[in-house]
Amino acid sequence: MAATFVVAIGATTMRYATVIREMNVLFNGQVMVVTKGTIIVQAIPINLQGGMLKENLANQIGNVTGAERTIPVILVTNQIDTTKNLDLVPVNFTIAIPLGDWQSALGPIMLKGSTGRMPADDLQYEVVVGASLADQNSWKEGSKIALRGHTFNVTGVLDTKMALLGRSIVMPLKIAQTVYTYPKSVNIIAVKPAQGFTQEQLSNNIEQQIDSVDALTQRERNDVVEPVLAQIETWNTGIEAVVFVISLILVMTVTLMSVSERRRDFATLDAIGAPLSYVFRVVIFETVLVGVLGGVLGLFFGSLTAVVLASLFTSIPLAQFFPSVLEIVPPLYMVQIFVSVVAVCTLAGIIPAANAARTRIAEVLRAEY
């Protein structure tokens, strides 16, 4: 039970922390310019109502001292099924970038298959989609998808295991401005610092020259969430520790009761000359066995629960998560939990094993007669 709980909670927490940290893949090493008051979680603006920026502001920012290159971007979350409430974790993202700036914004891009390509024309309704979205909707290169009343041609599938890009629809900026009715507007302008300038210097320069914007360095973006993530992970570790301590006490109590019920058996072993270490090992073996069985069952049910939670939080069908269970509950984490469970059970067996080894036949017979 304890192992199930720890795996389910631990894996889920870890997964979301990883997903949030992965968002840094966007605009890595760049300053993000948004309208004043916009809240940024990693690279994602979470209150779009904060306002849009004029696209041509990118040119003005490009002239600020320390700016080498600007990329105007639209980043929208959870837009496909507008009838649904917002999920705890967005189901998908649209990332819209000017043609030719793909790599600067997204980092190195790999597409599945040999014939896939990024959209090549501002006038064509073309997109590339993340692998997870493609799997869920059976999209592949050449598929037609409907989005806000427009039909798009899928030109490629992003070959990535990163959750954010796996759930993204990437399209040219001009097309997104039409589809989302943001004429000549964007919600982010990514700015690359020139050689010799730090993100902090560039950010200060931008904010000094343009009143209506916040220019956030990567550290500032992380500052919003990193303490929260660190706190969640600390809590998670704390909960794991408490669960393990409770488990240790429970296993020890049950083993003490079991040893007490079998006092006469242990006393008999002592009477016939069994070494103390033999009696000790018998009890420790039992608790280790409990740990191994508990660990295996806990990992199985915990992983199952983590997959179900992942599906519930994202509305992505359960079946789609099963093949990637090792991404949700990484093997190293499984090993860590399994070793912890076995270690806890081994520790829990020490006092009962010492009690069993101390049992003497003379005392047992005296108590019986």
Partner: protein, 226 residues
């Protein structure tokens, strides 16, 4: 195996009361014979057997086994003697419930480091000796009380001990089965030249004994060599 005690005393506390279970017992038991210690319940015969079987430490006095002063032995040395040179039979059989009859008999041999094959062969032979060759894989729960005591006797013989200590071996048995068990112990004693010490209040045991000691309130009474 020769057993000699000198002013052996065992006291223990039962709450606020100090109980003198064995009070200055001096006794000498020779090799290869059936010695019976008779006494009523609570007379101290089980405690005396625990002391002789090195399962308990005396409060005072000395216990010599083949001239060796056992009071100077460490716990490990006492366990080694119990394992290699002594066998124990208890009133309540004390078989391990999770093991089969043959596994119960194998246990002392396992502890003594016999090979799997040797353990199995000897255990089967011993169970055959006590008339249980058809009950090898039965667990204690599936055996009658008489059968359980036979398994316990086979277990006591497993490592070829020189001394067998039997505490009320017929206490839980009906008179016919009790007689069979006593007959078996007597036969082992004679055939295999072993020293057998039995604590009992069963008069039938006295009939087959080579020596009889009575014990009352922890003190040894008259002895009778037969």
């Amino acid at each position: 195996m020769r057993v000699k005690t000198s002013e052996l005393t065992k006291k223990y506390r039962n709450g606020p009361i100090e109980v003198v279970a064995v009070d200055g017992v001096s006794i000498e038991i020779g090799e290869a014979g059936l010695t019976v210690i008779v006494g009523p319940s609570g007379s101290g015969k089980s405690t005396l057997l625990s002391l002789i079987g090195l399962n308990d430490y005396p409060t005072s006095g000395r216990l010599f086994i083949d001239g060796l002063d056992t009071c100077r032995l460490s716990g490990r040395e006492r366990r080694t003697i119990r394992l290699a040179r002594m066998g124990f039979v208890f009133q309540t059989f004390n078989l391990l419930p999770t093991l089969s009859a043959v596994e119960n008999v194998e246990l002392p041999m396992l502890l003594a480091g016999f090979s799997r094959k040797q353990q199995r062969e000897k255990a089967e032979r011993l169970l055959e000796t006590v008339g249980l060759s058809h009950r090898l894989s039965h667990r204690p729960k599936q055996l009658s009380m008489g059968e359980m005591q036979r398994v316990a006797i086979a277990r006591a013989l497993a490592n070829g001990p020189e001394l067998i200590v039997a505490d009320e071996p017929t206490g839980e048995l009906d008179s016919r089965t009790g007689k069979e068990i006593i007959g078996l112990l007597s036969e082992i004693c004679k055939k295999e030249k072993k020293t057998v010490i039995v604590a009992t209040h069963d008069e039938k045991v006295v009939e087959v004994a080579d020596a009889v000691y009575t014990i009352q309130d922890g003190r040894l009474g008259n002895s009778a060599d037969k």
